[in-house]
Every structure is written in C-alpha cells, then in structure tokens.
C-alpha cells in the first residue's frame, strides 16, 4: 500500500531531470535550425609571406596580424581581356572608409604577379592612379618563385605567363582575418562586391564578439555551419 503512494511522487524528479536535459537540447537544436548568428567559414591558414612594398620596405603577413586584410592579385599592366579587380578594391576602400569598424583596422593589399615590370616606382604610379590611401592600401610584389608559392600554393590562384611576359589569371579576391585565417575567396568577378562587403561586416562582427560568452556563441555558430547563403 505504501509503495503505490510513493510511485507518483517519485515520477516528479524524473520529469524534472528530463526537462532540465531537454531545455538545453532544444536550445541547441533551435540555434542550429534558426541560425540567429551568421559567420564566414574558416577556409584554412593563410600563407605566410615576405614581400616588398611600393616604398621598398618589407611587408610580411605577421605585420598584418590583428587586421582584416582584403587581397587582390593582379599586374599593373592588366588590360582586357585580363579582368582587372582594381575597381572592386577601390569600391571596397570607399566602403571601409565609411564603415565604423570599432577600432579593428581593415587593410587592402594588392599583390602584383609581375615583379619584373612592377618596380616600386611603377607601383607608386599605379597606387596614385587608383586613388589609394597609402595608410590603408599596400602594393607589394616579390620574386617569381615566392609569388608562385604564396599566390599559387597559398591563395590557390592559378596563373601563367606566356613568352611575351603577359600574365593570364582569373580575377580573385581573398579576405584574411586578424588571426591569419583565410576566410573568403571570390573568383567570380565584379558581382562579388556586395558579397565581399557582407562577409567583411560579418567578420568584423565576429572579431568584436570574440571574447567571453559571446565568443563561445560564435564558435557554436562555426560548429553548426551557420554560414550566409549566397
């Protein structure tokens, strides 16, 4: 008789524990399905490099730590049919100028694939032509072997040079975050400006929320592949 009285009372802790387990589980499922936070995927470690900029100074990937860096790959003599990414970089420079980045510097780097012709003087003239802000936009190049390792092997942009010294490559932009992780590569040309701007905002948002509990939530967003849809 006593047992029959006991059993309904003892069901309650089971309900309580079940509920306590179900709430975080439901929260996780809701987070994974609704994706309230979007992040830009981490593609992999960006390549390390030592290049020479348009003033003859060295620029390394370590100098750019803590900055969000937008790269493009071109030559100063890129003319049709070569698709020039410089207008995209100009648009992004204007976008970044007007943007409140919350103290996180956003830098642009143009890597020239043609060290033979793109001397520092020529890069300086190119920068002036593009209205580049020297504090924000670097123009660099290096030896052909190093360029092949960094741009070909690291950023995975295929390029070749014919017997007349003309370079052939597809237009490409890349974004590297402050931790030196490659976050985005755009290979489709001019239509990517809007997507690049959106990704830049997301990377900045993540950098601002990278510490404490917010950082953990952003890590969860990476775990559940909360990536923006194209």
């Amino acid at each position: 008789m006593q047992k029959t009285l006991d059993s309904p009372n003892l069901k309650k802790p089971a309900l309580l524990w079940g509920g306590l387990l179900a709430i975080p589980l439901l929260a996780v499922i809701l987070f994974a399905v609704a994706q309230p936070i979007k992040v830009v995927p981490r593609i992999g470690l960006a390549p390390g490099f030592i290049f020479t900029d348009m003033y003859g100074r060295q620029l390394t990937n370590e100098d750019l730590r803590g900055q969000i860096v937008i790269y493009n790959f071109t030559t100063t003599s890129c003319e049709a049919p070569c698709i020039d990414t410089a207008p995209i970089m100009q648009a992004l420079q204007e976008f970044v100028k007007q943007l409140d980045t919350g103290g996180i510097p956003v830098t642009l780097v143009t890597i020239s694939l043609d060290p033979e012709r793109d001397t520092p003087e020529r890069l300086q003239a190119y920068a002036r032509k593009l209205n580049a802000d020297p504090a924000r936009w670097h123009f660099v190049t290096g030896s052909p072997e190093r360029l092949k390792q960094v741009v070909g092997g690291g950023f995975e942009l295929y390029y070749t040079q014919d017997e007349h010294g003309v370079f052939y490559f597809a237009p490409m932009l890349a974004i590297v975050d402050g931790n030196g992780i490659l976050r985005a590569r755009y290979k489709r040309g001019l239509e990517d400006v809007a997507i690049a701007e959106r990704d830049l905002m997301l990377i900045l948002e993540e950098a601002r929320n990278s510490s404490g509990a917010a950082g953990l939530v952003y890590e969860a967003a990476h775990l559940f592949l909360c990536y923006p849809t194209y």
């Binding site: 003892l10 070909g152 092997g153 597809a170 194209y230």
Partner: protein, 201 residues
C-alpha cells in the same frame, strides 16, 4: 525476513499496481534484461566514440557545398570548367576542375607526381553524378548547380580508376552509358618521372 516476504509476494503476483515497481519505486528490471540494456547503451557509446575518433584522426573530410554555379555557364570563356583538367598551382600543389556529364568525366585522365596535394572542384553538367577514386579518400557527389570541393594527397604511386557511383540515368532514345563513365588517376613515382624526362630528351 521481511525482504524474503517481499520477494515471494512478487513471484506470486500480488497487487497489479505494485507489481511493476521494485524497491524504492523504480521500475523493476529483470536481471538479464538489465544486462542487455547496459550492453546496448555501451555499444551506442562505443559507436559514437569510434565515429568521433575516425572523423578526427583518419583524415576523413566531407566535401562541402562551397560554391554554386549555373550549369548553363560551364562553357563560358572565363569559367574554369570550360577547360577542365589539372593545373599546377605551385610545386607539389595542383587543382583539378572536373565536369561530370552523361556519360563521361572531363578529364578522364589525371596524372600527378607522388606526394602531391590535389584540390578537386567537381560539378555536373546535366544530372546527378558521383565520383569514387578507388583505394583513395576521394568520394564525392556531383550535382548540377553546385561545386563540390575536396582536397586529397596521393602518397602511393599507382593507377587509380575512378567511376561514377551514382546511377546517372537513362534518357529516352539513347543507350545506357553509366558503365562507360570512368577515368584514371595516375600517381607517378619520382624515378618514373626522370625516366620520361630522359626519354623526351
């Protein structure tokens, strides 16, 4: 003594309501039933652990839907799929743009030196295809409109055949060609490479 009485009460039946519950009100579980429940739980834990370990340590990577592409634009002059094949990004690093179509792979022959790291970009021109390179980790779906990307390293020289592992359809008025959809990946050893150089010289 009272415990013994309790046991006998159970075996004889007793009150129908009290029978389902054992000591302390918990559900009464038979000895062997309990053993098998524990075995089942332990197996689940072992399987989850095995999957986790395999995912972390065996280099298994799931091909991601990293990009979308309009199948109508595959032959556009600026599309890398217009000239499918292998390209050397840097020494030891290659990329392969591959198109699967009814019923062939473009390219159907890939040659890389041993130890190369190869990134495959795969899409389909028409219907759903798939690729499996035998004896390697490469196993991907090829969907029209989507680019599947997978990175692989080939450490053993040899000839690896690849096939379509998706029954990619039968069109009216055309013969079935699924079984003709295959290709070869040739991983060349360093001494083979010097041999061919000597031959061409």
């Amino acid at each position: 003594m009272s415990e013994h009485e309790h046991e006998t009460q159970h075996s004889t039946g007793g009150e129908p309501g009290a029978e389902a519950h054992g000591e302390n009100g918990w559900l009464h579980v038979e000895k062997w039933e309990g053993v098998w429940i524990r075995v089942a739980v332990a197996m689940t834990v072992v399987f989850i652990a095995a999957i986790t370990v395999a995912a972390m340590s065996f280099g298994i990577t799931v091909p991601g839907a990293t990009a979308r592409i309009n199948p109508m634009t595959l032959n556009d002059p600026d599309s890398p799929f217009a000239t499918p094949g292998i390209r050397e990004l840097a020494p030891g690093k290659y990329e392969v743009y591959m198109v699967a179509q009814t019923w062939s792979f473009l390219p159907d022959r890939i040659e890389v030196p041993v130890g190369s790291e190869v990134t495959f970009y795969l899409t389909a021109r028409d219907v759903i295809h798939g690729i499996k390179i035998a004896n390697t980790n490469v196993n991907m779906m090829a969907l029209p409109g989507q680019v599947s990307v997978l990175r692989a390293k080939f450490d053993k020289p040899g000839v690896y055949n690849y096939i379509c592992h998706e029954y990619c359809g039968y069109f009216a008025n055309s013969p079935i060609g699924h079984h003709t959809m295959y290709g070869q990946l040739i991983v060349t050893a360093p001494d083979n490479a010097t041999e061919t150089v000597q031959v061409t010289q």
